[in-house]
Symmetry: C2
Subunit: 152 residues, 2 copies
DNA sequence: AGTTATTATATTGTGCGCAATATAGTTGTT
DNA sequence: AACAACTATATTGCGCACAATATAATAACT
């Protein structure tokens, strides 16, 4: 048995915010599987779609790998192959920047724009059968934003 | 532009709890890298160590893959190769259950028990330079527990 | 203009996460 | 005992994450 019980408890899983975040994240991503399976994409691919749908609402038709990476906190080692897979599935086009040929630009295809409606319908249904009834989502989101901000 | 702006906002990243969790989780795991690099392990391997250190305090010297998986919410497809890597690094022993030979038991080596002190010292230091000053960790943990519970 | 530094992305390699399936050991039934 | 059902773990395959490095285009400097 350790000498100082109070101190070793620092390492117990129930004391670890990180483990809670890691577990909560994976569990909720699992809850998206029915939608993701229907759309035939993965969760990170869904994030790219959501981001570009949103930017399209703001009249930005294309994005660079760097812009996506900054918003999603993902680097090119993750995004480059992910975007290639999405391209090969017909969800987006990849093309070089005209003024700066180092840049790789991404633009959604009509097919990718079309499935937004499916996602929206699913989210509206999911909101009905909400499993987060008892908790303060505002407070949780606020705390997570503060956390993300201080670790960015 | 979409017809019903209020509804499409359901799909905006800032409305997504899941994206916050996913990002917060990855950012905080990154913050553990200095420790993990020093111990020459990964974050999921660190979780296994923490769990088995804790169980050892409670006089449980060994665990099965199933017990680890239940607590960490990970399946054998993740744990089996992870535990083999930990075994090959000399952190643990893997052996079959005596009464039930389907069970794979895990026991930490002295080397794995020894590095607990390093982890503890690092955590104590990290607590000093805490980056989570401004937020209510109690409330955050409570909300995450409720979330994890309802999605388990 | 030619050289150096910087920037944007791509590549490589390792280790998860997880769905799907396989295998081997155990339990229950007749 | 034989066989079916069940259980615990292992295997396979794919797609992230991310560190480390490479490559190519641009910018900055002299």
């Amino acid at each position: 048995m350790p000498k100082e019980t109070l101190e070793t408890e620092l390492l117990y899983l129930d004391q670890q915010l990180c483990f809670r975040l890691y577990t909560a994240s994976r569990l909720i991503i699992r809850a998206y599987q029915p939608l993701l399976k229907e759309l035939d994409i993965t969760y990170p691919q869904y994030l790219v779609l959501m981001l570009m749908w949103e930017w399209k609402d703001k009249d930005q038709e294309s994005s660079t790998v760097g812009q996506l990476g900054q918003r999603l906190q993902l680097d090119s080692g993750t995004l480059t192959p992910l975007l290639k897979r999405m391209e090969s599935k017909g969800l987006l086009e990849r093309f070089r920047g005209l003024e700066d040929e180092r840049e790789r630009h991404i633009r959604l295809t009509d097919q990718a724009i079309a499935i937004r409606e499916k996602a929206l319908a699913w989210m509206q249904l999911a909101r009905e059968g909400e499993r987060t009834k008892g908790l303060d989502l505002e407070a949780l989101s606020g705390n997570l934003d503060a956390l993300i901000d201080s670790f960015s």
